[in-house]
Symmetry: C2
Subunit: 125 residues, 2 copies
């Protein structure tokens, strides 16, 4: 009884993923979808549950600043099958390290900003 298995129109997919319909089509054009999106009567897109799962993960990659071109490389590896697992792992690990570095930098900068805030608070109190 999984009603959620019904395919989604692009509008519903946009709601489900938090992306716009424009962005969904853009990602597809850019080769970021795992497989060609199903079509209802060969025109309107019908997104599967698997599509939702994939777009959710792809959004995680984007949210952490992975460039489109790297996402494309990653999904290309996924399409090639299990043999590319080590490559995917390496790609994700490298990305992870970059993100950790960015987090450090942002955190350090935030601390500097907090110091300034505290200073202002002292002067306006």
């Amino acid at each position: 009884m999984t009603l959620t298995e019904e395919p989604l129109t692009i509008a519903r997919m946009a709601e489900a993923t938090g992306l716009t319909t424009h962005t969904l089509r853009y990602y597809e054009r850019e080769g970021l979808m795992f497989a060609p999106v199903d079509r209802a009567s060969s025109t309107h897109r019908r997104y599967s549950a698997a599509d939702v799962t994939w777009v959710a993960f792809l959004s995680r990659l984007r949210a952490t600043g992975m460039p489109i071109r790297d996402v494309r490389r990653y999904v290309a590896l996924v399409r090639e099958g299990d043999a590319t697992m080590p490559d995917r792992l390496e790609l994700l690990r490298e990305h992870r390290q970059r993100v950790l570095g960015q987090l450090d930098e942002v955190t350090a900068s935030l601390a500097a900003i907090d110091t300034k805030i505290t200073l202002y608070e002292g002067r306006t109190s």
Copy 2:
């Protein structure tokens, strides 16, 4: 005995701040400097220690994703003097909240990526 008080050429300023000379000129054009940068014989820039301090802070704002236009607003307030302290404080606090939100989002996405990494590690071992 503060040798560091000697003004810096743009090239040395670039070294000191980690920005390029192009970016330094760009920021100045965009109205992001606190005060007009000194000139040696009215052409070549000579950056003061105060300039270094300001650019360092401005880089913190940028590193945390504050848009150029907001940095401009902030520095405009600074120029207006002590009366604008409450406004500056508010601006920084709002920025701080946005940054905290971004940190949360990135951290959550990173966790999802870590999960995927762990999954791959399980399969390739």
